[in-house]
Subunit: 178 residues, 2 copies
């Protein structure tokens, strides 16, 4: 398959669409869909939005800032993948969708303001588990992470009808995907 090089404007084109995509998919849906999971220790659409919010607060832009600063400490703070189980408490899905949209808009404003040059994309930081990574890889991962969670959201919902579709299950690989 063809592979795309990371390109700031192409990457941003995806990042800026994610909040509206998830809003179109989820807002005002019956709670059966919003709270559905793939089984124990898996995430619902509601959990996923909370996880994306935590990423906006603590992952992408803070790590990009560390890389761009090129200070003596370039090691990222570990990202808490499950912080949303505490932080989403008491919030409606609508609240979370609003919060995600606001944070994303603000983060893309910061990203644009930095006017990152092509050579800066090669600057490095230190991931606590993965080791040396570049700003280019970090930003590409932000995009891929969004898309992965959009796919996950649709998959979690689809699987609720795994039995209901009867023999059509054989034609719907999404029903049995891990």
């Amino acid at each position: 398959m063809t592979q795309m090089d990371f390109d700031l404007s192409n990457g941003i084109a995806v990042l800026e669409r994610t909040p509206a995509t998830l809003r179109a998919m989820l807002f005002d849906l019956p709670s059966k869909w919003i709270d559905a999971t793939e089984g124990p220790d898996t995430w619902s659409p509601y959990d996923i939005i909370g996880h994306l919010i935590h990423g906006e607060r603590t992952d992408w832009i803070p790590r990009a800032r560390i890389i761009l600063a090129q200070g003596s400490e370039r090691r990222f703070t570990p990202f808490n993948r499950v912080a949303m189980f505490e932080q989403s408490k008491g919030k409606s899905l609508g609240d979370l969708l609003d919060e995600f949209q606001e944070l994303r808009t603000e983060n893309l404003r910061i990203l644009n303001e930095w006017e990152i040059k092509d050579e800066q994309l090669g600057l490095e930081g230190e991931h606590p588990e993965l080791g040396t990574v570049t700003l280019r890889q970090l930003l590409a991962t932000w995009v891929g992470h969004d898309l992965g969670h959009i796919a996950q959201t649709a998959r979690v919902m689809a699987k609720q009808y795994r039995e209901a579709v009867g023999p059509w299950r054989a034609y719907l690989p999404v029903m049995d995907r891990g």
Copy 2:
């Protein structure tokens, strides 16, 4: 995992959101994303919208009509999964998104107009390959098919950055999913 029984209003809640979801994800994106695939003989986001359009025209509502009529011939016409390679020719992605939205709106209008009763959901038709299927299974499949293609669209796009994300690939299962 919990399984949801098919329920007409819950199913329609998803079906009515799909055109706006795909529009939010894809409209006006750079063509690199729209035309990206997972390799030879796989579909791009552009192809997927064309495939969904063909389903609106020839699959879901026509088959539901056959089942509801309970005539002597209850066998469905085979669905052409790849008709879009001809039928989308010359159309922009924006054209396709509009067409999908219009067809879906009209099909849901028809579905609502039928005022399907719970006992009718058990009526049967004959799938050319799968054999006996019920109206309930057909309508649940319509929903699952939408969600499967939303997941596929996000996955196809994500995979374009499989190399660009560098070592983060290990954390992004979407990059290597079949």
